[in-house]
């Protein structure tokens, strides 16, 4: 515990001594009466001051929450002796807000009485937070001395993004071998009718198409499209973001990635994750609720890290980028390295769809001058990048803040459908 003295302590001592000395020098007794109150205050204040013996702790009711939820915290303080004033403060990181409770708070502590101070925090933004440490400052009755202490230790809170539920997702071109919800282009056992063919030894009787068989005079069987799962890789660009106030392109990207992961995993698809930025991180494709939690936990740790060095996609293990996987990229197209990585993926033959998380709403257009021209040139450059991706056969859709994610997904589906028709 660190003890500090108020400037008043020195001032009162000086005033008292000066007053007494002046009284002696000038022979004026009333100067003693002027100085005495300050010496009295000094004496009373120092006599009543005692180092407080405090116990304090801070706890959270939950370690996990979803965006918009409220989490209750509790600060507990107690003292062995009386404390005339105790200031209690818990630093709350940006992204969390104090919904209820006072922070900081000044209170009186009676000896042996434990005070519990509730503090309700609202999770305004997804992310991993460390709340704390707890700062305490005790003062004596006169306010001449202060004791400060820090209760070390932080409480971790992981806030998951609140993602919208997607009804439909981007359909991949290729499927995998395991059962799933995606109708494959190949023929086999399934529900969706594909074709008919002549009967071959081994075909079951229930697959016979009796009408076609009667017309042709020989047995013909139905073929179906099987339902298979797909491999989906979610590509999150974390090189740079555009941000205004409390919202930015990375926030949109993370929420959209969580929504897409949830939608694909519900379809029994395998979903993997690549965070491409100053820190390259990846998650091997997997299925189930456990994979969803792994993806969301990895997304929470995603941050913009400024770096002039980056690693190419070559370093990613092959099983993280399986062949025939659909890659859905969420990127603001701000960094040329991300664009180069996406074009590299396309050149390797991956099925790629890009959601351009538009940074334009987060950048104020200057009113006039060279800055305005530069802003317009920047927008033109972005259009050129989108055109370059489109020319490579990549579905690119611009997503502005405020547009529902489902609408963007539908737009990507439409783009790919017409692109298939054009290729076909």
């Amino acid at each position: 515990m660190t003890r500090t003295a108020s400037p008043r302590l020195t001032s009162y001592a000086v005033l008292g001594v000066v007053g007494l000395l002046a009284a002696l020098v000038f022979g004026r007794p009333e100067l003693v009466a002027l100085a005495a109150p300050f010496l009295l205050a000094l004496g009373v204040g120092l006599a009543s001051a005692a180092t407080p013996r405090l116990t304090a702790s801070f706890a959270l009711d939950a370690a996990r929450a979803v965006e918009g939820d409220e989490v209750t915290g509790r600060v507990t303080v107690a003292a062995a002796g009386p404390v005339d004033r105790l200031d209690v403060y818990v630093p709350v990181p940006q992204g969390l807000e104090v919904a209820h409770g006072d922070n900081p708070l000044a209170l009186v502590l009676r000896p042996g009485v434990e005070r519990e101070l509730p503090l309700t925090l609202r999770a305004a933004r997804w992310g991993g937070y460390a709340i704390g440490p707890l700062f305490l400052r005790a003062r004596d009755a006169a306010g001449l001395l202060a004791w400060e202490a820090v209760v070390a230790g932080t409480r971790e809170l992981r806030v998951y993004p609140r993602e919208p539920t997607l009804q439909r997702v981007v359909r991949p071109v290729e499927t995998q071998v395991f059962a799933g919800n995606e109708v494959a282009r190949t023929k086999g056992d399934g529900i969706e009718f594909a074709d008919i063919r002549p009967w071959a030894p081994g075909d079951v009787l229930r697959r016979v198409n009796w009408r076609a068989s009667a017309r042709r005079g020989e047995l013909w069987v139905n073929e179906s499209h099987p339902e298979r799962n797909t491999d989906v890789i979610l590509f999150v660009d974390s090189f740079a973001e555009a941000r205004t106030g409390g919202a930015g392109t990375l926030d949109l990207s993370v929420r959209a990635t969580a929504a897409l992961a949830d939608a694909y995993l519900r379809r029994r698809d395998r979903v993997g994750l690549i965070g491409f930025g100053g820190i390259l991180r990846w998650l091997v494709p997997g299925t189930g609720v456990a994979q969803l939690y792994r993806i969301v936990d990895a997304l929470i740790d995603t941050q913009i890290v400024l770096s002039y060095y980056w690693r190419e996609l070559d370093v990613i293990p092959r099983r993280t980028l399986p062949p025939n996987a659909l890659v859905v990229a969420l990127t603001p197209l701000l960094d040329p390295r991300s664009v180069a990585a996406l074009l590299d993926l396309r050149n390797r033959g991956y099925d790629l769809a890009v959601v351009d998380v538009s940074p334009v709403p987060f950048a104020l257009r200057p009113a006039e001058g060279d800055a305005r021209i530069a802003f317009d040139l920047w927008k033109l450059r972005r259009e050129a990048i989108r055109h370059r991706l489109t020319s490579a056969g990549v579905a690119v859709v611009e997503w502005q803040e405020g547009t529902p994610l489902q609408a963007i997904v539908e737009e990507v589906r439409q783009f790919r459908r017409y692109a298939w028709r054009a290729r076909g």
Binding site: S6, R8, T10, S11, L24, A33, A41, A47, A106
Partner: protein, 142 residues
Amino acid sequence: MAAGAAGLGLLVLTAALALRAPSAVGWAVLVCGAGYPAGRHGGSDVWAATAGALLLLAAELASWSIDEDSRIETERPVLLRRGAFVTALALGSFVVGLMLLAAAHVAAGASLVVAGAGVLAAVVAVAVVLRLVRGVGGQTRV
């Protein structure tokens, strides 16, 4: 001259409050206090006790105003305690000042060194009493 010192002291105090400079409060008190005897010419002045108490009250209130941070939510008992302490201190210092002036008036020929020693003795006495009270209070709560 007394009015000038009071005005200057008020100016310094205002600056201390505006700039939130607690160390400047002492200077304001010093200037006002220096102007007081300049306006009184000789003799034992019973108003000195009042002036001393008021100077202390002004210093305490100014320091309280500077120390208070509007960002910190303060519970009512904290304010009441501080207010009661300041009031008691001002009243107590007024009484002590009166006693000192009375003693100086009675012992007109006594030296000021004795008077100063008396002040210090009074302060020490109060401090000892408070220490004892605090110590006894702690033991009774065991």
